[in-house]
Symmetry: C2
Subunit: 343 residues, 2 copies
Amino acid sequence: MRIVVDAMGSDQNPGPDVEGSVLAAREYGETIVLVGDQARVEQELSRHATSGLPIEVVHAPEQVTMEDKPGVVGRSKPGSSMHVGMRLVQEGRGDAFVTAGNTGAALAIATLQTLRRIPGVHRPALSTILSLHGQSMILLDIGASTDCRPEWLAQFAVMGGVYAERALGKTSARVALLSNGEEEGKGSTLVQESAELLSRSGVNFIGNVEPKDVLSNKADVIVMDGFVGNVMIKTLEAMSRTLFGLIRQELTSDLRSKVGGLLSRPAFRRVYSQVDPFEIGGAPMLGVNGVVIIGHGRSNAMAIKNAIRQARSAVNGQIVEAIREGIEQSSPAASSRDQDTSE
Amino acid sequence: MRIVVDAMGSDQNPGPDVEGSVLAAREYGETIVLVGDQARVEQELSRHATSGLPIEVVHAPEQVTMEDKPGVVGRSKPGSSMHVGMRLVQEGRGDAFVTAGNTGAALAIATLQTLRRIPGVHRPALSTILSLHGQSMILLDIGASTDCRPEWLAQFAVMGGVYAERALGKTSARVALLSNGEEEGKGSTLVQESAELLSRSGVNFIGNVEPKDVLSNKADVIVMDGFVGNVMIKTLEAMSRTLFGLIRQELTSDLRSKVGGLLSRPAFRRVYSQVDPFEIGGAPMLGVNGVVIIGHGRSNAMAIKNAIRQARSAVNGQIVEAIREGIEQSSPAASSRDQDTSE
């Protein structure tokens, strides 16, 4: 397997991206193709013991930054590490692409410039994988599309279900819709119409769930509009950061608390590791013709390594082929009719 | 001032509701009118030292439960403590109504059976007040309406601004829209169209904010669709409960952590009190012809007392009159044309 990694992705690039790749090459034995500024990548590689590791470097003269506008960068930087990396996957010279860079740019470059959508897919979806109490679940869409339509959410359910079964090891993945209440009659028009579609579909639809269920083990796949999903994961992240910040502050406010804080530090680390998004590393962009794993901009080397592990699971699970079949089976007539091919 | 309190509201009613009312009567010196099952309320009152306190009891033969469907209970239980209490306010025999009961039922009974909407108001809004780092802000709508339209959000901005200035002590309240990114072009169609309306309105619109800003001091009023707002506050609550649960669990997992936990307990209490919704007690339902404060079902006596304090601030701030004026000024033509008077 050849996993292409964007060396210029993370906020601190190329350090964490290269180090995570070295760790992954060592641990998984898969070939890692680092794409980026060749000189900088090789300089970074020289800091690590890479002798005998299956690591290649492919030069990309340009770099996408967090400031680049997704609507523009697709056309304006054809030599970026994202373009070059995804093209390698498109041409079959790589099996997956991993980036911790600008998510919107990755989505635009994948959808409009390189990999493009799987036939029949209305809209690609960005996802996140949460893992708590030893169980993982996938949430989508978390920001690819706002103003979603019911048939898009129905496809997200198919794609999320495929991923949960093929890459997360679930059996007959339980699919739910995020709503503001589980009772019938609750939910926006979108949720109500999507529930109607899902209950007639082939997916294992277990109904509506509330935000608290995102932190429980009630469903394996939770589907939502991208605006709502984006607000939700940003809220989870903000609340977690705020609470840990307040705790840190209060635990240094007096001597008693300081001693208590020192003694309970290992316990805190265990809590933190359970809600730490870096433990997962990354989550797939679904609905495009290739495995693309998006990591957090703040990724460290461990997060990059874990994102590469996620890519490996997705390739082994043949998720692109499985999604193609799932979409075909779910609604062949509707999908060929409704596909929006505009750019 | 006469503040009417639903004695049968909280999950543990009438205990916390009555005790909180006694505390409030003692601390604020305002008359508290307890509405509920007279025998049970008086029995509960007899457990407290109420001699000389301005507390009255009004009998209500029925009770709204958390299981009651909002769409049905408005008509099916005309003798409920919510109906009786809101009617007292409607008839001028009370200045505000406080309940920790079924929020959907309170909304239906206020809007359709008793107080009704302020003329020109498209939709009433439920709000929540967050207080962090010593600053409070009001978020709305958090669940009264899904599928909101831009002109509804524009009114929420007016109502929230009035509340922030009149009851929370803000000067020229900063109003923001919740979005999935601050940049122009981000946001759902609803957010984009609402931003357009708000930038042409009289409110102090500061633009779009992200979820992390809900926990900062960037805005005084944050406006959003009720579905999104409901998901957001439930996510905040779920994340907070999950984190404190994990911390409690890990701090009892071994002796070292236990000792650390005991020593840092006061620090934790300080953290908890900063994110504890009971410190605020309740938040207003806005857009109806009367002050209505909704508390959490799990309210304890302190939360009820704080909800009564919130009601008192709202009455002193004459928020109903101020909202009426604000709505009239904001768009007199539009508001008389667009008002939906169907029930």
